[in-house]
């Protein structure tokens, strides 16, 4: 009756590589080698791993923001600064309104979603007008809005003493969150340590938040609307023939991406303990793009699993490379150079894999 389902269990080496992806494999191996080297050099592996988890938790949602935009066919969201600025604006605004602690977190997230939906919609409209060169336009949209906000942070008459300069007008470069009792508010929620003092620190609250967002995105791409978005991304003509409004879907996806960027920066800021304004959002899209690409995504196809794998490997590499390189080449800035080389190299590699100059 049924068609026989034959499963080929024997996976040879070549298939394994193509399944995981060569860049993922190389960077992953490199990270493990660094970890082992670090161990020999007397750097605590547990500390390195704790830092990795912390940084992965901080950056995870920003990386996740790439999934909807890639799936919809607009490519990696190089305009992530738009979402980040929505998040930062919400953060600043809720401090201005006097919220602290947990209420600050909820108000920030709620406000940021409102801003992100509006700006994401406008940004989606923009992308529909420039089909074929989304990635370039996105990069410069991100740069422009960051520059614009440099003015805004200075000009908007905020009054909260927690954010202003001691003299003159405008907001500080970095706003400390411990002043409002919000630093590490998520990270410290249900935090525990495996293996006692000096063991592996698990920032449970932040991880739950990250996984929750992952679950939402994963579920969304199994819904009718999400499937339509993916189909439009893979093959616009196919989707169109099935009566799907591709432009509307691209807008939807970019709204989702912007919202995730906004929530992502709030989670990032609380983990870091500071909200960084002015030029900080400018370059934040690149590590996020690099991370998802290392995870195995391409500029046209991305999954939630790519986000998780990519974030851990990429952040792991960064946190491990710094202390190890400092030990090996004392007095140099090699690790920062290494980070730039890997990050931009990966983006470059992935962009060369895009066929036919985008959709």
């Amino acid at each position: 009756m049924m068609v026989e389902v034959k499963e080929n269990k024997s996976i040879n080496f070549k298939e394994l590589i193509s399944k995981i992806g060569l860049p993922t494999l190389i960077i992953g191996t490199f990270w493990i080698i660094l970890l082992i080297t670090g161990g020999f050099l007397g750097i605590s592996t547990m500390t390195l791993l704790s830092d990795t988890i912390k940084r992965a938790g901080m950056n995870g949602i920003l990386v996740l923001a790439m999934v909807p935009s890639i799936q919809s066919g607009t490519g990696p969201n190089f305009a992530l600064p738009i979402g980040i600025i929505c998040g930062l604006f919400a953060v600043v605004l809720s401090i201005e309104f006097g919220f602290t602690g947990a209420s600050w977190l909820f108000v920030s997230i709620a406000l940021s979603i409102v801003f992100a939906v509006i700006l994401g919609y406008l940004y989606g409209k923009l992308l529909n007008a420039v089909k074929g060169s989304e990635m370039t336009i996105a990069t410069y949209t991100g740069f422009s809005i960051s520059a614009f906000m440099c003015l805004a942070w200075l000009m908007i008459p905020f009054t909260s003493p927690k954010m202003g300069w001691f003299m003159g007008k405008g907001l500080r470069e970095t706003v400390q969150l411990d002043g409002i009792g919000a630093a590490q508010i998520l990270s410290d929620f249900w935090k525990f340590t495996i293996g006692g003092e000096g063991g592996l620190i698990i920032p449970t609250g932040m991880i739950i938040m990250f996984l929750l967002c992952c679950a939402v995105v994963w579920l969304y791409f199994r819904s009718k609307s999400g499937i339509a978005i993916s189909a439009g991304g893979i093959n616009p003509r196919f989707a169109q023939a099935s009566g799907i409004n591709i432009n509307r879907n691209r807008i939807k996806a970019n709204i989702l991406s912007t919202v995730l960027g906004a929530i992502g920066i709030i989670v990032y800021s609380q983990g870091y303990g500071y909200a960084q304004l002015y030029n900080a959002p400018l370059m934040m899209a690149f590590p996020a793009v690099a991370a998802i690409l290392i995870g195995g995504a391409t500029a046209t196809r991305a999954k939630v699993s790519h986000v998780i794998i990519g974030t851990i490997i990429f952040q792991g590499l960064l946190t491990t490379a710094l202390p190890v390189a400092n030990q090996l080449f004392a007095g140099t800035d090699l690790s920062e150079i290494l980070r730039m080389v890997i990050q931009n190299g990966i983006i470059l590699y992935a962009l060369t894999q895009v066929k036919g100059g985008g959709k």
Partner: protein, 531 residues
């Protein structure tokens, strides 16, 4: 033997084991006009590619046979060689640069130059243009064609007919041009322009240039050519002197009997009188397949074939009905007016479409078979979804069950419903497309080029499947195909589309000549002359 300007002797060509040309023999004398005619896929383009030494020929293993020019065997390895031997071509789509003047276009890359100070130091490539001489040359070429147009005008904005002449002027300006090939030169021209062009061709022939004229317009061929060579399925069917033949014979030779799929039952079909689809003045702007006002009535329960040569608009009909390309006109389907330019509305009204562009429009190649099968039904009919609050998620269990049923019913050969559609063979991919259309439970199924690119065994399976759907479920089917044999094997009647309009409707067992004449748009005149 020596008065032949060009002779092709036993030229054959194989593409990866598939013989597309078989022993073609062509002879062309000085000043002679040879018409080349054949259906799409008859091998005309391949033959011309060989003559021009196109890279596609040599990268696929070259050709067999001999090409002789002026009685000497030549080996044409590149388009540049072809030019050296005096072979020129006037392209169907104009290869002109709009912003350049007529002279510049005619002289492109063959500019006449004179030395200047810089070029004396840095070489010949920096010499300045001798505009006066170039203009004189262009003028001469234009005069041959009796074109009273200023040679310094830009090409952009010229009427289509003029552009064609500039192409020709460019070819005859080349030194030592002996053979000129026209590839369907009149396809894009209005009647008066076409007439001018034919006059120009005659003039060129009088000057001793040998002309190969590719066209499917029989009237033109009878009008202008001295000899006509008919090709079919890569074979040289016949070469006749035009004065010894007529267009009926040519049409018959062109279509020929090549039925490989036998018709088994044309009997006891219960086609009702009820019109299910009424198309009035449908115009579709599909690039390359423009529909210019089609009127057609389709009865419930019949299989209607739509045939015609490529580029005549037959494919535009289904694409227009499905809202894939912009369309205007009035379409009544199932008693209701169909909203055009809205794929969603078309699908909702009960139309389903299996596209001619299987890999482009028909399938998500990187998606699973089951994902492909249920996609449209899920998006348009909200089938295969689970409601969780306000959200709708895919119902994997139901999808799997349905996919397995379809795989079994349509005999899709695959390892599992999760296999990627892109990894299936052409025939099985086509079945997945059909399965997707059937999942929509359509009242009327539009199928375009269902057997394109699939092997002969799979072809029969797909056609049998269509026939079965029609017979067992009473599904009305409109099948568009370039293969006449296939249309004749299952259709109840065949609509021939020519130049974007319905040329006529024929029963499947009508004589070959009728099909040939209709496809080349010569039926009206033919009827006149017969009377």
């Amino acid at each position: 033997m020596s008065d032949n300007l060009l002779s092709l002797k036993n030229v054959s060509k194989e593409y990866s084991g598939n013989r597309v040309l078989k022993d073609i023999n062509i002879e062309l004398k000085k000043g002679e006009i040879l018409a080349l005619i054949g259906e799409n896929g008859a091998g005309k383009s391949t033959l011309m590619n060989i003559l021009f030494g196109m890279p596609v020929i040599h990268s696929t293993g070259g050709y067999e046979g001999k090409i002789e020019i002026d009685g000497k065997e030549v080996n044409i390895k590149s388009p540049h060689d072809a030019m050296e031997h005096g072979i020129g071509m006037v392209h169907q789509e104009f290869m002109l640069i709009p912003g350049f003047s007529i002279t510049e276009n005619i002289k492109l890359n063959r500019e006449i130059t004179k030395p200047n100070v810089v070029s004396k130091v840095l070489g010949k490539r920096l010499e300045s243009l001798d505009v006066k001489n170039m203009n004189d040359d262009a003028r001469k070429a234009l005069d041959v064609l009796e074109m009273d147009i200023d040679e310094y005008l830009p090409v952009a904005g010229l009427p289509v007919g003029h552009m064609q002449f500039i192409e020709i002027a460019r070819e005859i300006d080349k030194k030592g041009i002996k053979i000129l090939v026209f590839d369907e030169p009149t396809a894009v021209l209005a009647e008066a322009e076409a007439k001018n062009l034919l006059d120009a061709i005659r003039k060129l022939a009088k000057k001793g240039i040998g002309i190969i004229f590719i066209s499917h317009r029989l009237d033109e061929i009878i009008d202008v050519a001295d000899k006509v060579t008919v090709m079919r399925d890569g074979e040289h069917v016949a070469t006749k002197d035009v004065k010894d033949t007529n267009k009926f014979e040519i049409a018959q030779l062109m279509v020929g009997r090549k039925i490989s799929i036998e018709r088994t039952d044309s009997d006891n079909k219960n086609v009702s009188d009820e019109t299910i689809l009424d198309i009035k003045d449908l115009k579709v702007s599909m690039p390359g397949e423009r529909v210019k006002g089609i009127n057609l009535e389709i009865k419930k329960g019949e299989i209607v074939g739509i045939g015609g040569l490529a580029g005549q608009g037959k494919l535009g009909v289904a694409n227009g009905l499905m809202g894939i390309y912009p369309a205007t006109g009035e379409v009544v389907f199932n008693g209701k007016k169909l909203q055009l330019n809205n794929p969603m509305a078309s699908i909702e009204s009960g139309l389903a479409f299996v596209s001619e562009d299987r890999k482009g429009v028909g399938l998500l190649l990187d998606e699973s078979i089951e994902g492909n099968i249920v996609f449209s039904a899920m998006q348009v009919r909200n089938d295969f979804l689970n409601m969780v609050g306000p959200f709708r998620f895919k119902d994997s269990k139901k999808i799997r069950k349905h996919a397995k049923e379809m795989i079994k019913d349509l005999d899709i050969r695959c390892t599992s419903p999760l296999q990627n559609a892109g990894r299936l063979s052409g025939g099985n991919q086509q079945k997945v497309c059909v399965a997707r259309a059937l999942t929509l439970n359509p009242t009327l199924l539009l199928v375009s080029e269902p057997t394109r690119g699939i092997d002969i065994g799979a072809k029969k399976l797909v056609l049998d499947l269509l026939k079965k759907l029609n017979k067992d479920y009473g599904m009305t089917i409109v099948m568009t195909s370039s293969e006449l044999a296939e249309l004749r094997s299952i259709s109840d009647r065949i609509v021939i589309v020519c130049e974007g309009k319905v040329e006529g409707v024929l029963p499947p067992d009508a004589p070959d000549a009728d099909f040939g004449l209709m496809m080349s748009g010569s039926r009206h005149n033919a009827e006149g002359s017969e009377a």
